[in-house]
Every structure is written in structure tokens, then in C-alpha cells.
Symmetry: C2
Subunit: 207 residues, 2 copies
């Protein structure tokens, strides 16, 4: 069993923030996924002895700031390389607070998501928080940072955000099927259903 195979799994890079009893903290995580569309829920996986996880267990709320490819290495290192038990990570960092009072970062991030914990799953070394999305905002169109990008940045490579125009496409929010037929999506009949999961036209989003 060659566990390096697990390094082929693709992750993004996120700043996970929370607030409890006036104390704010944040850390870097890489396992944020949308898990259902109705209701809109996400999951995130955090090591148990992480201070942010400890605070989320009390506050039952968190924010996700999605790091973009042009985020500075300093931002990642500030939130990822030390514990909020030892220092205030927000001391020299510009931030806002979301509708729940959790810290959100806009500089170097392309979206912010506010989440209320619905269920906590004890995974032994980690907690998985499954949470309702109570608010979210797309802050710019920069590409998201992947874990692969992060490794490249760490190794000194220059990462440019993609600038080319992307073709207009529609995606099924349930099963992620992408419609790219000859007929424009708007002109499809009202009774069009997703060919994969059978959901109606109304669940499609323009991407």
C-alpha cells in the first residue's frame, strides 16, 4: 500500500475563521466541499487539537475565505504556520467580520462563505463539521489556489491567474453535469431535465 497515492487527491486552500466569546481565530484548511444543494451545506475537516477547531466546537459557526492563486505566501504562512493559542493572527492583517461575527479575509481571496454547524462528526484525530451556508459572497473572479499551486509558490514558481475568457456553460447544481449542447441553454424547453440526475432546468447555474 503506497500512501503517496493519497497525495494525488486535489484540494483547495482556505482560511477557516471563527469567533467565540469575543476571541477570533483562523487557520488554513484544504478540505472544504459542498455536500448538498438543498439545503446548501458544506463540510470541512479539521485536526482536533487545532485551536480553531476547539473554538468552532463552542461557537458552532465558521467562515471560509477561499484563497486565490495571487494570495501572498505571507498570508498563507500567517494563518497556517502557528497556533492562535500563542499569538493573535489578525494583529497585522486586514479583515472584516461576517453576519455571524466570524473573521473573513478579502485580500488574496476570491469568495467568502459563512456557515452554521449542523452536525459534528468525530473522526478520531479530526472533526468533520457539516454546516449550513447562511451567507456567501463572490468577491472577485481570480482563480482559486489549489494545493498544487501552493506547492509551486512555495518552490518559488511564478503563478499567473488565467486571463483568457471562458466559454459560457451551465452546470447542474445537483450532479455537476455540464450542459454544452448546440442549443443555447436559455432556448431549451421548460421541461428539459438533467440527462444524468433528472433534475429540472431550474437547478442549473451559469458557470
Amino acid at each position: 500500500m503506497d500512501q503517496t497515492a493519497l497525495f494525488s487527491l486535489t484540494y483547495g486552500m482556505y482560511i477557516l475563521g471563527t469567533e467565540f466569546d469575543g476571541k477570533i481565530n483562523a487557520c488554513i484548511v484544504n478540505t472544504v466541499s459542498q455536500v448538498t444543494q438543498e439545503p446548501v451545506r458544506v463540510s470541512v475537516n479539521v485536526i482536533k487539537n487545532n485551536y480553531t477547531a476547539e473554538l468552532i466546537n463552542k461557537s458552532k459557526k465558521f467562515s471560509v475565505s477561499v484563497l486565490s492563486r495571487n494570495a501572498s505566501l505571507d498570508t498563507v504562512m500567517n494563518f497556517g504556520y502557528s497556533s492562535g493559542r500563542d499569538r493573535n493572527k489578525f494583529e497585522n492583517m486586514s479583515y472584516d467580520t461576517d453576519v455571524q461575527g466570524c473573521p473573513i479575509i478579502r485580500t488574496g481571496c476570491n469568495a467568502v462563505i459563512s456557515c452554521k454547524v449542523f452536525e459534528t462528526i468525530d473522526l478520531g484525530t479530526h472533526y468533520m463539521f457539516i454546516a449550513d451556508v447562511v451567507d456567501c459572497e463572490k468577491t472577485n473572479n481570480d482563480d482559486s489556489m489549489t494545493y498544487g499551486d501552493y506547492r509551486d509558490i512555495k518552490a518559488g514558481k511564478q503563478i499567473d491567474s488565467k486571463s483568457e475568457e471562458k466559454k459560457e456553460m451551465y452546470e447542474c447544481s445537483i450532479c455537476h453535469y455540464i450542459y454544452d449542447g448546440e442549443t443555447s441553454f436559455d432556448e431549451l424547453p421548460d421541461d428539459y431535465v438533467c440527462p444524468v440526475c433528472g433534475q429540472p432546468k431550474s437547478v442549473f447555474y451559469k458557470i
Copy 2:
């Protein structure tokens, strides 16, 4: 609340396979994450009425074949754009079976992972399967396909795998901290611990 913010979340692209009572099937998913290191467990999220999900609920086992950037669009479409209820997706597709009898794909994939379901979480529209990794294999060093790559490929862009040499780095398998200090990792003292999560040197992997 602008739900397009959720499109900023980064995903990989995977072929999820299973076998039950002699019937094999597979589909495309994008939410595979490693959730713990001890034991080695992953999670995957699948829409409930998907035929593969139905079979996994009976078989309690699945395989993950990690799509690489050079996978053909035909491979993705074969597994992603129709239901195994209607056709045999493996009819014209080269595949092997893993230690559990689940189908695995090597062409266009860079790793294969065999998983035994430990817990199934009912998320309403989706099931989340949390599973022990019982076997895994890194099949080549091609880059993994991200969902963003897939959209680019769909839009007709040429995607080249990265060919540059990457700097040798060591990563903490628990919290994903990356060591890149001046001292070579091998030469660090035996009592070195991860500065983020405090785990010992032995949990680090070369990446």
C-alpha cells in the same frame, strides 16, 4: 447570498467504482478527501439516486481512480454522462479489478485507491461515505485533473502536464504543514516535531 461563491471551492475529478453481486459500475465524482491519517480514511459524497451510490450502499466498498490532466474527454464522458442502469459503462473500456473486486481504471489516471465503507452519512439529497483505505497505488506522476482543468478541456483548451522538476519537500501527514527549512529533513534531530500539530518526525512524508 450569491451561491456562485461556492463555485470557487476546488475539486479534483475521480472515477468512483464498485461491485455488487457480480455487477460493476462507476461514475464521476469530485468530492474525495482524506479525512484522517490514523486510520487512513477518506470521504466521498455522492447523489443518492446515482446507481453507483445504490450499489455502494449494498457492497460497502468502492474504488477511486484519480483522473489525471491528460485523461481523454471520452473517459470522463463515458463514466459521467449516463447511468449504469441504462448501459454497461465498461463495455469498451480497459479496466482492472482491485483487491476488493471493484473496477479500477489506469488509463488517464495517476492513482487508484481501494476503500471499505466505515460509516454512511445521510445528507438528504446525497450520501457521504466515510471509508477505510485498504489499498492504494500511485500509478504515475502525471498531475491530477482539477475541476477547473476539466472545464478548460471542455472549452477546447490544451492542457499540458507540468514537466518541471519540483523541489523536494516533506509534509506532515496529520496537519499538512510543509517543512522547507535550510537543514535537510533527514538531518533534523530525531525529536523534531511538527511546529503546527506537534506530531513526530515519523509522520512526515516526502512530497
